[in-house]
Amino acid sequence: MTVDAPGPAGAESAAGEPVLRLEEVRKGYGSSLVLRDVTLEVPVHTVTALIGASGSGKSTLLRCVNLLEEVDDGGIFLDGAEITAPRVDQDAVRRRIGVVFQSYNLFPHMTVLDNITLAPRRVHRVPRDRAEAEALELLARLGLADRAGAYPDRLSGGQQQRVAILRAVATRPRLLLLDEVTAALDPELVGEVLAVIRDLKEEGMTMVLATHEMAFARDVADQVCFLDAGVVLERGTPAEVFGAPRQQRTRDFLRRLTEAGRL
């Protein structure tokens, strides 16, 4: 998918600098603290899996990174530059970060092709014919070329989510955020979506994904973060977190998943 081609000019950072860095990020709604001093580093070309119970703050963390939410304290750095600083051009930051949502959020009034080419054409000013040619090529790779002219409601959930992923990577983002992208899918459609994410990893896309698919996280992630009540309780390679969890709460969480047949 050639998404690992260098992003917008100047996006490449100094060697060793992680693509994404969170420094003691704190975020609350009213009186309830949702993220408590979360610190995290996501090196280039790696996949970070966020795991944790429902309500542990995974979605909030991703929304903060994409500046859909404002952090209360701490800082978020993209390629070493703080994006939570005042006077940062938020639209410019969002242009460099792709997001895939649990509920797809495709634009229902646009065809698949228009969904994918909207941002390249309107935001990145790519001429229509080139944007469409690139979109069609991406669709063809996923075997979706014949659906280019279809409206999203004519697609299966798995097809919609794959289109949503294409829409997010069509602008060649520096970082891709995926929030439980298979949670709304029928079980037999999960595989086709995970396959796309695997391909993206092959091509070097830097990703952060919140997921309940533990087998997938174990397989594809370079780093696993266990979030519990807004705290990164445990962080390490899949082998460390799944194989030898240090914290009791991680063990409890994994045991509950095992009992539910999810691991």
Partner: protein, 315 residues
Amino acid sequence: MTVSDDADDRPGDMAGGKGEDVTGGPPDVKATPAAYVPSARRIARERYRRARTRRSFAVAAVSSAATAAVLVALVVNAPGWQRTRATFLNAHYARVALPKVLDGLWLNLRLLVVCGAIVLVAGLLLAMLRTLRGPVFFPVRALATVYVDFFRGLPLIICILVCVFGVPALRLSGVTHDPVLLGGFALCLTYTAYVAEVFRAGIESVHPGQRAAARSLGLTTAQTMRHVVLPQAVRLVVPALLNDMVSLQKDTGLVSIGGAVDAVYAAEIIASRDFNYTPYVVAGLIFVVITIPMTRFTDWVAARMNARQSQGGAV
């Protein structure tokens, strides 16, 4: 239609269903050579459905006839019926009034088209102003809100009276005294407020996830509005907008209070000269007649959009 599952599974039931297919029969499907013989169960089901349709039809016909008879009897036996018929339903005056009323109607139609166009554009602009965020736009938002609150509450007839008689009284130089323009202006003032509310409701009912998706792609607030929110919002409110246009069409008749000779005023001229109210009835019926197609069109658009959005099935 609940029989569609049969039709889907076994195309080619044309041969079997033909001839006896009255109402509620299977939808036409492409004939294929495979001979399909409907099961006894299906035949029984369809016979039952036809019987029920016939029965409903009979019940509806009898009940309508009875209701009509009672209404006619009530009206015709009313003590003042002869007088009423002479003053309101007089064929001679109807013939005299019709050409004049139709002349006046031309003004109503022009008002409808011009005011309708202005109202739709202004209403949309006003609705968008109300969604602007940020402290800079506070005065704009506040003004838009005050405007909508005021003109939605103000009775249209008072708005027209104030515009038509109040504006000329100011004796401002260069401002028109034409009752048609001033009346049309009053219509625009009031209807822009209605239409702005319709658009705002549409904008707010677009799912927030759509906005989040657009912003996360890097689209600006304005681009998100233009490419993602508005196209969906407008689709949602088309039926409500057409409704307001039907209503505007009727209310163009109110410009007559300023002396503009529209269909209503044309009727009034004849009525007050000859002391016969038949011209009003003629004008009223003409408004009804031109409103009905618009109402049906509104229903049709609404039904079509609903059908596209949800596959309701047999219910």
